[in-house]
């Protein structure tokens, strides 16, 4: 599934934990690890990296360490493209004094422009993260069938316990508001149909997929999908949120942030972003 796994290194206090997490995933997927650091290569940094590397990655057969200079986002994106990285791992930032996490401007730029999938870890651990509760964005978007398929494959690899697929009824307020012209039975029927349609959509996308031992829970909500996803992840204490995005963002997305931007500004848990 992921043959080349990249890790963007920033020599932060969490670097060792990030390397440990990346190594675990490389083992699971039997892939190659590509460590990317953008900055001047100094003997001190080299020896620090080598020390951590020897501690965690000595058993890895296929590893590349790449030192790049220039603008961080641009260099990371170019390296990922050159090396044909399938999955890039990034660390999230923690808000000062709060238990909330967000993506910095470099990471956001990478997420917006990368062609490979991205895994953002909010609290990387040396003993590595268990992705036991996984939430997949099942809202009806063009990329959703792929997101569900990749999310299920990833969940099986990391041996998740429960996979929750959240689907949203689009414009529920408008739909039910216009349905209020009908009788009580018809309104209930409309409500039931809206929910059933969303369940059917997810079930249709699950057809033919090998679910292994995963327990699948389909959940339907009304409201904006990013907000509902964040709320649900917090509610069930999710370990990983899987979602997709295949749009190139522009100035208006910054002025009027769309759902993805809202999520990146306040990550509810680790995030796996699937790209088309």
């Amino acid at each position: 599934m992921y043959q080349k796994i990249g890790l963007a290194l920033a020599f932060s206090p969490r670097m060792e934990a990030l390397i440990a997490e990346a190594k675990r995933l490389v083992d699971l997927f039997d892939g190659e690890l590509i460590l990317i650091h953008v900055g001047v290569k100094t003997p001190e940094l080299e020896s620090r990296l080598s020390e951590i590397f020897d501690k965690h990655c000595s058993s890895l057969r296929r590893v590349k360490i790449l030192w790049k200079e220039g603008k961080p986002a641009k260099q990371i994106l170019e390296t990922c493209a050159e090396e044909k990285v399938d999955l890039l791992i990034l660390g999230a930032l923690k808000k000062e004094g709060l238990l909330t996490y967000y993506l910095g401007s470099v990471a956001r730029k990478i997420i917006r422009k990368a062609n490979c999938s991205l895994l953002t870890l909010i609290e990387p651990r040396l003993e590595t993260t268990a992705f036991s509760q996984v939430v997949i964005n099942g809202t009806q978007l063009e990329i959703t069938p792929k997101v569900i398929q990749r999310g299920i494959d990833f969940s099986k690899k990391v041996e998740s316990k429960n996979v929750h697929i959240l689907n949203e009824i689009k414009m529920y307020g408008l739909v039910m508001g216009t349905a209020s012209e009908d009788s009580e039975d018809e309104v209930s029927g409309t409500r039931r149909k809206l929910v059933q349609d969303e369940i059917d959509y997810v079930e249709e996308n699950l057809k033919g997929l090998d679910l292994g031992d995963l327990k699948i829970n389909i959940k339907v909500t009304g409201g904006r999908w990013a907000t509902e996803l964040a709320r649900y992840c917090e509610k069930i204490n999710a370990d990983l949120l899987v979602m997709g995005d295949d749009r190139k963002l522009n100035f208006f997305d910054r002025l009027f942030p769309h759902d993805l931007e809202d999520l990146l500004g306040n990550l509810p848990c680790n995030l796996l972003m699937i790209k088309s």
């Binding site: 689009k170 307020g173 408008l174 508001g177 012209e181 349609d197 409201g223 749009r247 009027f256 769309h258």
Partner: protein, 416 residues
């Protein structure tokens, strides 16, 4: 404070009761005939007003609707609040997220569907102002107003038609919805700018300060104002009664914004619309709250407004077949072809573009409000207003069957 006397109170209550009962009866008939409620409500007003009741039972009509001037002022207050709330809910229906998700294609379709009718409407009205009944003293503004009135789409009506046809969640359906949302936003901004240019609308701060303030108000409400709402709403949801606290506060800010735009010289409804957009776009306004607001406004205030149209105009006396014919033909053709061309330009196949064309041609509420304002400002005649109402009725009746027909149309590969 001056109050209504005993007889006036009874009269007002009877007026409201008769309007709501007639609206309910006729919207139920419309529902049985698979037509939008607004069609029934407008017909109820025509029957209850001078056109039918006033002609068949003039004494009864006079005692109900023109015996107490104070009652009529109070009723007008209700109608004003109704129209402000209708625009508020129209704003809440606009979901900027849906518009962004459909991207440039929605914008292309919406703009093409507006530009053609605005230009055609302007040219026709400017060339034949006396025939159409456009105010010759305010010719440019009144002609633009007419063009704008025939370029508007009724979002709620088209949403309902799309649901009935099972097209709501399809790519074409979402494009129509997003396009209608863009039409709403652009239409009301253009409306407020035109209104500030009109001769009769110069009671505010002057043309340029009004236009500047309008644009500032719009941008501020959709950025800073939305941010403020996003901070206040979570607190409201958590600490105040639900949905009571939310309902009363959202209506209060709607009236505040409406009074602000009325103060700066554009109509109150623009403020209500923009605050509706800002509020509706907030992630903290739950879909359940939107549903409650919809039900409350659509079933109480919307019928009062749509019935009141029939009370204001005599649809037989002021009826002019030529004017109605021109309004209906220009309105239907230009809106359809504008949206169709926009959809083709956006890369849609021919039959899907036809669905988009018929979908965006659906009128039924916002265009009538625009027409009524133009009538009240003396920009258009009663005959032209009747033409706009008939255009709204015809397009909302026809759009469902036409969209269904176009959706099922089998086209030869060469014509796609």
């Amino acid at each position: 404070m001056e109050t209504l006397n005993h007889k006036e109170v009874i009269n007002l209550l009877l007026q409201l009761a008769s309007m709501l009962i007639m609206a309910r009866v006729f919207s139920e008939i419309a529902r049985k005939l698979k037509q939008p409620a607004v069609v029934g409500e407008i017909l109820a007003g025509i029957i209850l007003g001078p056109t039918i009741l006033g002609m068949l039972m003039p004494d009864f009509y006079a005692s109900l609707f023109s015996s107490h001037s104070m009652t009529n002022i109070a009723l007008d207050g209700f109608v004003q609040i109704a129209v402000v709330l209708l625009l508020f809910i129209a704003g809440i229906e606009v979901e900027l997220q849906v518009v962004w998700s459909q991207g440039k294609n929605a914008l292309k379709i919406a703009l093409a569907s507006m530009i053609l009718p605005i230009i055609a409407g302007f040219v026709v009205a400017y060339a034949f102002p006396e025939f159409l009944g456009v105010n010759i003293n305010d010719r440019i503004v009144a002609s633009t107003f007419f063009g704008l009135a025939i370029s508007i789409t009724a979002l709620a009506v088209v949403a309902r038609v799309l649901m009935d046809l099972n097209l709501f969640k399809t790519k074409t359906g979402l494009l129509i919805i997003a396009g209608a949302m863009v039409v709403d936003v652009v239409g009301w901004i253009v409306f407020s700018v035109i209104l500030s240019l009109s001769e009769s609308g110069k009671e505010g701060l002057g043309v340029w300060p009004t236009i500047g303030l309008t644009l500032f108000f719009t941008v501020f409400m959709l950025t800073g104002g939305k941010g403020l709402i996003n901070r206040v709403l979570p607190w409201t949801n958590k600490n105040l009664a639900w949905p009571g606290g939310l309902l009363s506060l959202s209506l209060a800010i709607c009236f505040l914004a409406a009074s602000f735009t009325e103060f700066i010289g554009i109509h109150a409804i623009f403020g209500a619309f923009i605050i509706g957009v800002a509020l509706g776009d907030s992630e903290h306004l739950t879909e359940k709250a939107k549903e409650i607001l919809h039900q409350f406004i659509n079933n109480i205030f919307a019928p009062i407004f749509f019935v009141s149209i029939g009370l204001k105009v005599n649809f037989i006396e002021a009826f002019d077949l030529g004017v109605v014919g021109v309004v209906v033909i220009v309105g239907l053709l230009t809106k359809y072809f504008g949206a169709y061309l926009g959809a083709r330009f956006a890369g849609l196949k021919r039959n899907k573009s036809m669905v988009v064309g018929f979908g965006l041609s659906t009128r039924g509420s916002m265009d009538i409000i625009l027409g009524l304002i133009a009538l009240e400002y003396g920009m258009v005649s009663e005959s032209l207003f009747i033409g706009l109402v008939i255009l709204a009725l015809l397009s909302s009746i026809l759009s469902g069957p036409l969209m269904g027909w176009a959706e099922n149309l089998k086209l030869s590969p060469s014509s796609k």
